[in-house]
């Protein structure tokens, strides 16, 4: 009797241990999928619920950014840079213009530099809020998303007051910025910063130690320091593995060397670390904006554009009365500056990592080559490395916290 039971249980044990996943399944995800904020396609090879392999296919938003830039004047390229990373348009403006200024050997006035930094940091804040807010939404957490978007509305209102438009602001000019800071801006900005801090505290309270959120982020999408370096990954992903690389500190541009801020780093390199790094960077950005306000109030009103004749626009009164000024105005509008022959690469720290512009000029009023080094494109490349062997559900938070922006990735 007992032998029969033993025999029977053996059979059951065998049945239990038999591998059921005999066939791998191919799953097409995207290019338009509700759980990914970006137009990208994943070709996932599934072994049960685990990802055996994944092929990331980009390019759905390719608009020929570089070709368009090489067909217009130097000024006409600036609005296109807005449309690279549309969450943080000012950062791409600043990156492109700094590269052009490097070729021209030109430095913007001090007041302008502080305004550029302030607009950059507001942009970075908006970008991180979108990343963290939308990341929560795609993990089915609606409330923090609403807090995040409310705070982003406040930053976009600030950008509108400062730059004249909410999203694609086209704010930065070669040798300057579009407007001086409005007199009412500091009060509005301080008011909004207080509200944003409250919203960030609410956001933190509702999600940072939420059990479901932590479970989905901790230990998922892990990448090692060596792989980050091999793949030239930068930004919050590189900092989440513990490398304190931030171009604002390592190669300071504009007035970042005069500012007091910290570079947060993670330890493990998983999605949760990336989330924490982004949250801390938002607080640091707010600190920088406050310092900029104090400095700009101290500097008072004055010119925000360089007086260099190659990029200076003459005063309107003179244009109407003097021949030379009229000619200069005409030349500025129709062709803009002629940039000396040469090549330059200028990297800045964007919200996603190193955003670089490599420009080649043949000495004419039209750029010969405009290369954008897109952090999104380069950060997405090691995604298969982060996901092989993981669950399909881990793809969503990993993709969210890589924060690929289609406009910048595909150009």
């Amino acid at each position: 009797m007992s032998e029969a039971i033993d025999q029977h249980s053996d059979v059951l044990e065998e049945d239990f241990e038999r591998d059921l996943h005999v066939e791998r399944q191919i799953l097409n995800m995207g290019p338009s999928h509700p759980a990914t904020h970006g137009t990208v396609k994943f070709l996932v090879e599934l072994d049960g619920e685990n990802i055996a392999d994944i092929d990331v296919q980009v390019g759905y938003l390719h608009r020929g950014f570089e070709k368009e830039c090489e067909a217009g004047t130097w000024y006409q390229a600036i609005p296109y840079t807005d449309r690279l990373n549309y969450n943080s348009a000012v950062l791409a403006n600043v990156g492109f213009v700094l590269a052009v200024e490097k070729l021209l050997g030109l430095e913007a006035p001090e007041r302008c530099q502080w305004q550029r930094v302030m607009a950059s940091e507001l942009s970075r804040l908006g970008d991180h809020l979108t990343r963290c807010g939308a990341g929560c939404l795609e993990l089915q957490a609606m409330t923090p998303f609403l807090y995040g978007i409310e705070a982003r509305e406040l930053t976009w209102d600030l950008i509108e007051s400062l730059c004249g438009a909410r999203v694609t602001s086209n704010y930065v000019r070669i040798g300057g910025v579009k407007h001086p800071m409005p007199d009412t801006f500091p009060a509005q900005c301080r008011d909004s910063i207080a509200k944003i801090r409250e919203l960030l505290a609410d956001f933190d309270e509702v999600i940072t130690s939420n059990r479901i959120f932590v479970d989905r982020l901790k230990g998922t999408g892990v990448i090692s320091k060596e792989d980050c370096l091999r793949y030239a990954v930068t930004g919050p992903i590189l900092r989440s593995v513990g490398v304190p690389l931030d171009i604002r500190k390592s190669e300071p541009y504009l007035v970042y060397d005069e500012l007091d801020f910290d570079v947060p780093v993670g330890q493990v390199g998983d999605n949760y670390d990336r989330y924490l790094v982004c949250v801390e960077e938002m607080h640091q950005s707010l600190r920088i904006v406050e310092q900029c306000l104090v400095k700009l109030e101290h500097l008072g009103s004055g010119p925000v554009n360089a007086l260099d004749p190659r990029v200076r626009w003459p005063a309107k009164g003179r244009v109407f009365n003097q021949m030379e000024e009229l000619i200069q105005q005409f030349k500025s509008v129709t062709e803009g500056p002629r940039v000396p022959q040469g090549e330059a690469y200028f990297p800045i720290e964007s919200a996603n990592g190193e955003l670089g512009f490599y420009l080649v000029s043949d000495g004419s009023a039209v750029p010969y080559k405009v290369r954008c080094r897109p952090p999104s494109f380069i950060n997405v490349a090691p995604m298969p490395l982060m996901l092989r062997g993981a669950l399909l559900a881990d793809l969503i938070p990993t993709f969210d916290f890589i924060n690929m922006i289609g406009g910048e990735c595909d150009r």
Binding site: V58, E343, A344, Y345, V360, Y368
Partner: protein
């Protein structure tokens, strides 16, 4: 040829003098123009020399100098996190044989960027594991960032293969 005070250029000129065609440091960017066939040696030295330690190939692109010979210039930007310095390496390839060795074995970031250069300029990278178009689709004809590709040219959009 001078090193312009750049440790990377100095080491390249010392170790691989026959591979370096020219150097400059215009606007502060240390640049070496190299023989395209030797690009893997140059990159290997930049990566493995402990004083240089260029762990990252940050950027890789090409420029089309239409009318000049050799026509295409492939431009590499290296960055060292440990030493916080940069170097630019350029290699010219001719129009009739636009090919140079791939750096994928040395730098994983070269994988997608080489595919993009192939996609946009038609420059081939020998030894690349999967040299296919990346931003455009498989049926696309021509390489749009070449200077002789008209900006206004339109092509029918062919659906994906799978």
């Amino acid at each position: 040829m001078q090193d312009y005070g750049s440790p990377a250029l100095r080491r390249l000129l010392e170790t691989l003098p026959d591979a370096i065609v020219a150097t400059h440091a215009d606007l502060g960017d240390a640049t070496a123009c190299v023989d395209p066939a030797r690009i893997a040696d140059v990159a290997g030295l930049l990566r493995d020399d402990p004083d240089l330690a260029f762990e990252m190939l940050t950027d890789l692109t090409a420029v089309d100098y239409l009318g000049e010979e050799p026509r295409f210039e492939v431009v590499y930007h290296f960055y060292s996190v440990a030493r916080n310095h940069r170097v630019r390496v350029k290699a010219r390839v001719p129009e009739d044989a636009p090919e140079l060795p791939s750096l994928v074995a040395l730098y994983a970031s070269a994988d997608w960027m080489e595919r993009e250069v192939f996609d946009m300029y038609g420059v081939r990278f020998a030894g690349h594991p999967r040299l296919e178009r990346i931003l455009l689709y498989d049926g696309f004809e021509g390489h749009p960032l070449r200077k002789d590709y008209p900006k206004e040219k339109r092509q029918p959009l062919v659906g994906p293969q799978n």
